[in-house]
Assembly symmetry: C2
Homo-oligomer: 250 residues x 2
């Protein structure tokens, strides 16, 4: 935490202390992880609790408040997209029986907005609200391929985080992948995150034809693609149609 100056920055650096692995913390932990003085932390936390942005558990620890769930539910993708897409995601899940996910782009990252996970899912990497880089996930490739040039350049210029030996590592490789995605209308991210899975993703378009989200399924390595690809693409088209996209339009 590089010493935030404005009050809002401080408040958010407090909120950022909470993660999936650390969902409840004490006041002192908040102070330590955020780098803010204890008394400052105390004052801020008290206000945040008043605003219901934080919540004090009976054991004295602080948790993220339900107010933030409420607000988060209004974020783009959560509102319209989520509700309309869910039935189709369920259909896709019925067919494939593997982890189905819906994601949108936020800057140079993917954010998952909905997920249906098989009980014995092959991966548990993603959750609703979690983020991943654009270059190494199926949804990421689809979203990046449709993103403004400025975003693509930013991703191509930054170092590409490597997860496995198969993760796309060079800008050149990424450029080729994006071209392929644009040509084919879908993306396959083959063992880029874990060696035991690959994912297939397809775009979701809004009324004006822009790519607003991406659907994907994560399946175990070895699964035949010829069954998965059409299912995912169909799902993407179905959601697009539910959002008001008319395929005939230019």
């Amino acid at each position: 935490m590089p010493t935030p100056k404005s009050l809002l920055e401080r408040a958010f650096s407090l909120l950022s202390v909470f993660t999936v692995d650390r969902p409840a913390v004490t006041l002192s932990e908040l102070s330590r992880h955020s780098g803010l003085p204890l008394s400052t932390t105390h004052r801020l936390v008290t206000s945040l609790v008043e605003l219901r942005a934080l919540d004090r558990a009976p054991n004295g620890r602080y948790r993220v408040g339900l107010r933030l769930l409420e607000l988060g539910a209004l974020s783009p993708g959560s509102l319209d997209l989520r509700d309309r897409a869910l039935p189709f995601l369920e259909d896709l899940y019925e067919v494939t029986r593997h982890n189905v996910q819906l994601a949108v782009r936020d800057g140079t990252e993917v954010v998952y907005v909905e997920r249906i996970s098989a009980r014995d899912a092959v991966n548990v990497v993603t959750r609703v609200g979690s983020r991943m880089p654009l270059h190494c996930t199926g949804v990421g490739l689809v979203l990046l391929a449709a993103a403004p040039v400025a975003v693509q350049d930013a991703v191509l210029a930054a170092p590409l985080k490597r997860y496995t030996a198969r993760t796309i590592a060079s800008p050149q490789e990424l450029r080729e992948s994006l071209a392929r995605v644009r040509r084919d209308g879908y993306a396959i991210s083959d063992r880029q995150i874990e060696l035991i899975t690959y994912s297939v993703a397809a775009p979701v378009r809004g009324p004006d034809g822009d790519v607003v989200a991406a659907v994907s399924v994560v399946v175990p390595t070895g699964t035949r693609t010829d069954t998965v690809v059409p299912a995912v693409r169909t799902c993407g088209l179905a959601i697009s149609r539910a959002l008001g996209w008319a395929s005939g339009a230019p």
Copy 2:
């Protein structure tokens, strides 16, 4: 908006402008609805955008940022509860084919944390993140019956909002309902929100036996209760068990 003084209050009064019916607003609208001077609004909004708490759509309007979805996903109920409960909620949906919901209590309100809605659902009142009073919903009655006395007193002392002619309106009536819920181990909210539906709710318990959430199904008026009640109660027990509750314990 009663003129907030602290910066955080101001920031949250801006965020509060966003609702389900008003998910994207312009700067001036934010200023007007929050009661803050335009220049102040502008400065705050700019910081919030930098922090990704807000997002500027291409058309210039502001929306809630994905950062808040990310944070909201860490709120109690979203993290553990949600994931563990979903399979059972789906089972309940399979059986009943009507709107299934999972909710927790926040102060004197119910907050819905998960929902599975039938495509041709009888109601569309609730959404993930939305709030309702405790006295008139099935989940609310279950949660209130298990709440600390202070909370019960607060609800009993406040005016009870009325939705239909059947909504519980007097403290006496509410007290009796709560006693019944405690005795029976489930709640029925009969036509209290809409005259065409009633809901059946059951408690979900954490490892230490505390009621941490409630499950419910909303069914059309006229549906036989003898099939719905056992299904909902079973679902509540199943989720409780998945959370580590051992029924044998006191």
